[in-house]
């Protein structure tokens, strides 16, 4: 950096900058202090740390899949699809009520775990896509030219509408997702036990991400999505049906959320009408963390957030002497959200978010 630039920056520091710098310094100080204290104290064994990390990777994979929906939609419309968490919820909730429950009751799930999981996966994706398409058509498409806050408000409305709609359909109690015997137990790897479900999550995520990458980079539809993200008017001039492409973008994001939801159900074995909200916001954090608008960024951000969230309480909150640090897991995620949006809205990977799009 050149000297005049530095001097200019120093002259331009004002009161607000100062406060923000202090804020930043305090957070870093707290994290470093807590980490050092935790390392000195070392309350956990190595295999416990590895377990935290593996759990973080599994959790982060789900965030990554959900985050793709935010990032794709933001890429083409520059709007935060607040209702995306509800796309996640709707698919698995429906599939659990109509399929998983009866299949487990009839014993089909025990006999054919792969087929039944595949059916659940497909139905979950389809329902998520349907919900996404209805939302897009009713709440977003007519308002595409409206001021930016307007679609955000309809998105909030859509989010609450779907939550309470599905609450009305299936009831407010949480519904158990059946246990699958084939996925019980764990592998032993380097002296630590890794749950089979966690392996499944990571493997499925990798496969889906590769498929998505192929879809976006190699197919004609993917090319259309990228063109629309670049410039809607020019894309329309090139003969691309913009409305249809935007709908496809929503559908792609929703299908990713549908996959993530099945993984979520397999791991946590419970589904409920409210289950999409918090993962939705966290996945949004992941999308911003990785640089919103970028698909690899969403994957990286998801992993990063998942790790941070699962290691964080043990690493730096407990070190600070906070009682029951795991209660504050969500605080870590939300603090990350706030910090990233304040200090680095372009995210970690963050490349293509120009002033125009910010």
């Amino acid at each position: 950096m050149q000297i005049p630039a530095v001097r200019e920056r120093l002259q331009n520091i004002d009161f607000i900058d100062l406060i923000l710098w202090i804020f930043r310094a305090v957070i870093i100080l707290l994290v470093v202090w807590g980490t050092i204290a935790a390392i000195i104290d070392n309350p956990y064994s190595t295999s416990q740390w590895i377990n935290f990390i593996v759990f973080g990777i599994a959790q982060g994979s789900m965030y990554a899949l959900i985050a793709i929906g935010y990032t794709l939609v933001y890429g083409v419309l520059f709007m935060i699809n607040f209702a995306h968490g509800e796309f996640f919820m709707s698919g698995i909730l429906t599939a659990t009520v109509f399929l998983a429950g009866p299949m487990a009751a009839s014993g089909f799930m025990e006999r054919q775990p792969v087929i039944s999981l595949l059916i659940i996966l497909i139905v979950s994706m389809l329902v998520s896509i349907a919900v996404a398409l209805v939302t897009e058509r009713v709440a977003y498409r007519p308002l595409r030219k409206a001021p930016r806050l307007v679609p955000l408000i309809t998105a909030i409305g859509a989010s609450f509408f779907w939550q309470y709609f599905f609450r009305g359909l299936y009831g407010s109690q949480s519904i158990p997702f059946p246990q699958i015997q084939a996925l019980q137990g764990s592998f032993s790897l380097l002296g630590t036990q890794i749950l089979k479900t966690q392996v499944l999550v990571v493997v499925v995520t990798i496969i889906v991400l590769i498929g998505l990458n192929f879809f976006i980079m190699r197919t004609k539809t993917g090319k259309a999505i990228r063109a629309v993200a670049e410039d809607k008017d020019v894309a329309a001039l090139m003969g691309i049906d913009v409305d249809r492409t935007i709908a496809i973008t929503f559908a792609t994001g929703a299908s990713m959320a549908g996959v993530a939801a099945v993984l979520y159900a397999v791991v946590f074995r419970q589904v409920q009408f409210f289950m999409g909200f918090i993962p939705g916001i966290k996945a949004f954090t992941a999308a911003v963390l990785g640089g919103i608008g970028s698909v690899p960024g969403a994957a990286v951000g998801g992993l990063f957030l998942g790790m941070f969230e699962s290691v964080g309480p043990a690493l730096f909150l407990q070190g600070l002497g906070i009682p029951a640090a795991h209660q504050l897991k969500d605080v870590i995620a939300f603090t990350m959200l706030v910090l990233v949006l304040i200090f680095r809205p372009q995210g970690i990977v963050g490349e293509r978010l120009g002033e125009k799009k910010a």
């Binding site: 009161f15 607000i16 406060i19 923000l20 804020f23 709007m79 935060i80 009520v97 109509f98 009713v138 709440a139 007519p142 308002l143 030219k145 409206a146 930016r148 806050l149 307007v150 679609p151 955000l152 408000i153 309809t154 909030i156 409305g157 859509a158 989010s159 609450f160 509408f161 779907w162 939550q163 309470y164 709609f165 609450r167 009305g168 359909l169 299936y170 009831g171 916001i281 949004f284 906070i322 009682p323 029951a324 209660q327 504050l328 969500d330 605080v331 939300f334 603090t335 959200l337 706030v338 949006l341 304040i342 809205p345 910010a358």
Partner: protein
């Protein structure tokens, strides 16, 4: 959405399917069944039936506007087809329920619902009735559309107000009985709803009044406009005195229960006034607004509580300014980091702040100070001259004073220089800065005043409930407040009050509304943004802006033109 000159069967079928899916949805999520317990017109109409057939009427109304121009009968046929098609999905549900037990999947598809859908008849007969009524409703919707506007408006008004009176008949009849005795009440209300003849008379009366007003309203307005300023001021002063008089005697009219409801409405209105400054005036969408409400409530709890967590034990009146001051401080502290942020990011960050504060309040970390999930207990009610304001009728005056203060401050600020600065920032931040508006101060002032109102609301809320828990301060409160200012009209002070009355008052009065409260808020947010973004009671400035747009260019969204006008 333009007129097609040919008869096109696809249009009414599409509209009918939409209406049918809506009717099916409201049935499947249990609204019809639950709402059927509330009679609107005794023996004739329940709220459940209204909600079932509403979509058919509205879509029939819409489809008629798309019929070939100048041919009334096609419009009517469109409406009829729409209604008939709309009956198909609910009918399928009925048939499905005969074959197997739908209820194991959809908890709300109860035998009661099926009986409602078939009007307590046997299957073939009931279904025929369902189709017939749907067709008639679609036809009626279409007919309403085809009437000239001078008839349509008053009729819509008459329908809407009659239904509202029917909806509130339980409370209204109870109040009427208190003041006029049961003979007069019995003339209007039968059982728990409007009597049929009374409903008809009401409908014609309101329609007639609305019709006359539509003819003569303009001349009255112009006569008022022609008066000299002295006369106008006198009329305004008289109206104000009358308004204050009504507000002062209101608890006596309302009784204990309704006063309690009124207090809740006013507390939300107070928060709405604060959020109105932040969102409506300055255009900063704050989804973590409940944080300031929580801070005000917890401050009041800690400062005045007689229980173990109380730190000062001072009186309500001594604590109130402190609560407001702390909220203002919190508003500025949370405001500073988000100053540089725009629009949607701001919304998410404030949402994050709100959640962080709620989780912290629940956590063990702060449990020794604010009690964790057990909350703060034994908060005394406010006292005036040694009298504790335990009765809601008395507490009402405290809330009213707060509201009047907030309205006064909001009104004066909106007309002042700072109000104009806020609106400039709302419209375009860069341009505002270029015009020499100090963005930092302007935005921080909006956050601070918004937080002050919320803190005051929280403080009153805490001493009204006498105990507070972290669960009372979730995101839904923020959404509630946001919905009410959007429905009322962003930036409009009367809009906030109207929004609070409808969105907070109705669910408090009608148990069944509370169940589907957030579903309806969601629908309202979407519908308002699509059809009437300026709200039901828009501020004068907004109305003027929209009017200018209309003069310059034809409306961009045809939905605006198609939506039924409800003022």
């Amino acid at each position: 959405m333009f007129d097609d000159d040919r008869f096109n069967l696809r249009r009414p079928i599409n509209h009918g399917l939409i209406a049918g899916v809506i009717a099916l949805s409201v049935s499947a999520i249990g609204m019809v069944d639950l709402f059927a317990q509330r009679q609107l017109i005794t023996g004739v109409l329940t709220l459940g039936q209204l909600i079932l057939f509403l979509a058919m009427a509205i879509l029939g109304f819409m489809v008629a506007s798309k019929s070939p121009r100048g041919k009334a009968w096609t419009g009517l046929i469109y409406g009829l087809i729409t209604g008939l098609v709309a009956a198909v999905p609910p009918a399928l549900l009925v048939l499905l329920a005969q074959v197997f037990n739908v209820r194991q999947f959809l908890v709300n598809v109860s035998p009661g619902l099926i009986r409602l859908l078939t009007f307590d008849r046997d299957i073939p007969q009931g279904l025929v009735l369902l189709f017939a009524i749907s067709g008639v409703v679609g036809l009626a919707g279409a007919g309403l559309q085809l009437l000239p506007a001078s008839f349509r408006r008053p009729i819509l008004n008459g329908l809407a107000w009659t239904l509202v009176i029917g909806l509130l008949s339980e409370i209204l009849s109870q109040r009427l009985r208190t003041f006029f005795g049961s003979e007069i009440t019995g003339l209007i209300f039968q059982g728990r709803a409007l009597g049929l003849s009374a409903a008809l008379i009401l409908f014609f009366l309101i329609t007639a009044i609305a019709g006359v007003w539509q003819r003569r309203g303009d001349s009255v307005k112009s006569r008022y406009a022609q008066m000299n300023p002295g006369q106008r001021r006198r009329i305004g002063f008289g109206a104000m005195v009358l308004g204050i008089l009504v507000l002062v005697i209101l608890p006596n009219l309302l009784g204990t229960y309704l006063s309690e409801v009124m207090n809740n409405v006013l507390i939300f209105a107070l928060m709405g006034l604060g959020l109105n400054i932040v969102v409506g005036f300055a255009g900063l969408l704050d989804l973590g607004y409940v944080a300031f409400f929580a801070i005000g409530a917890y401050m009041m709890g800690l400062l005045t509580s007689q229980g173990g967590l109380g730190v000062a034990g001072i009186s309500f009146w001594a604590a109130l300014p402190l609560c407001v001051a702390v909220s203002v401080l919190a508003g500025i502290m949370l405001g500073i980091p988000v100053l540089r942020m725009r629009g949607d990011y701001l919304a998410i960050v404030t949402l994050g702040f709100g959640e962080i504060i709620r989780i912290l309040a629940l956590s063990d970390l702060l449990k020794p100070v604010i009690g964790g999930a057990q909350g703060v207990l034994q908060i005394p009610k406010p006292q005036v001259f040694g009298i504790s304001l335990i009765k809601p009728e008395l507490l009402y005056y405290v809330v009213l004073a707060g509201i009047l203060l907030a309205v006064f401050i909001s009104y004066r600020l909106s007309e002042a220089r700072i109000g104009r600065q806020w609106m400039a920032v709302r419209e375009d931040e860069d341009v505002a800065e270029a015009m020499g508006i100090p963005l930092v101060n302007t935005k921080l002032l909006a956050f601070a005043i918004g937080a002050a109102f919320a803190g005051m609301a929280g403080a009153i809320f805490a001493s009204k409930l006498t105990s507070i828990f972290p669960h009372s301060f979730n995101l839904l409160i923020s959404i509630n407040v946001l919905s009410l200012i959007i429905v009322g009209g962003m930036g409009s002070l009367p809009g906030v009050i109207v929004g609070a009355l409808v969105l907070v008052g109705l669910p408090e009065l009608l148990r069944e509304f509370a169940e589907y409260r957030y579903l309806m808020y969601g629908v309202l947010l979407i519908v308002m943004m699509l059809a009437r973004p300026e709200g039901f009671w828009p501020s004068a400035a907004r109305r003027r802006e929209l009017h200018i747009h209309e003069e310059e260019a034809p409306p961009e969204h045809p939905e605006t033109a198609a939506a039924p006008a409800s003022d």
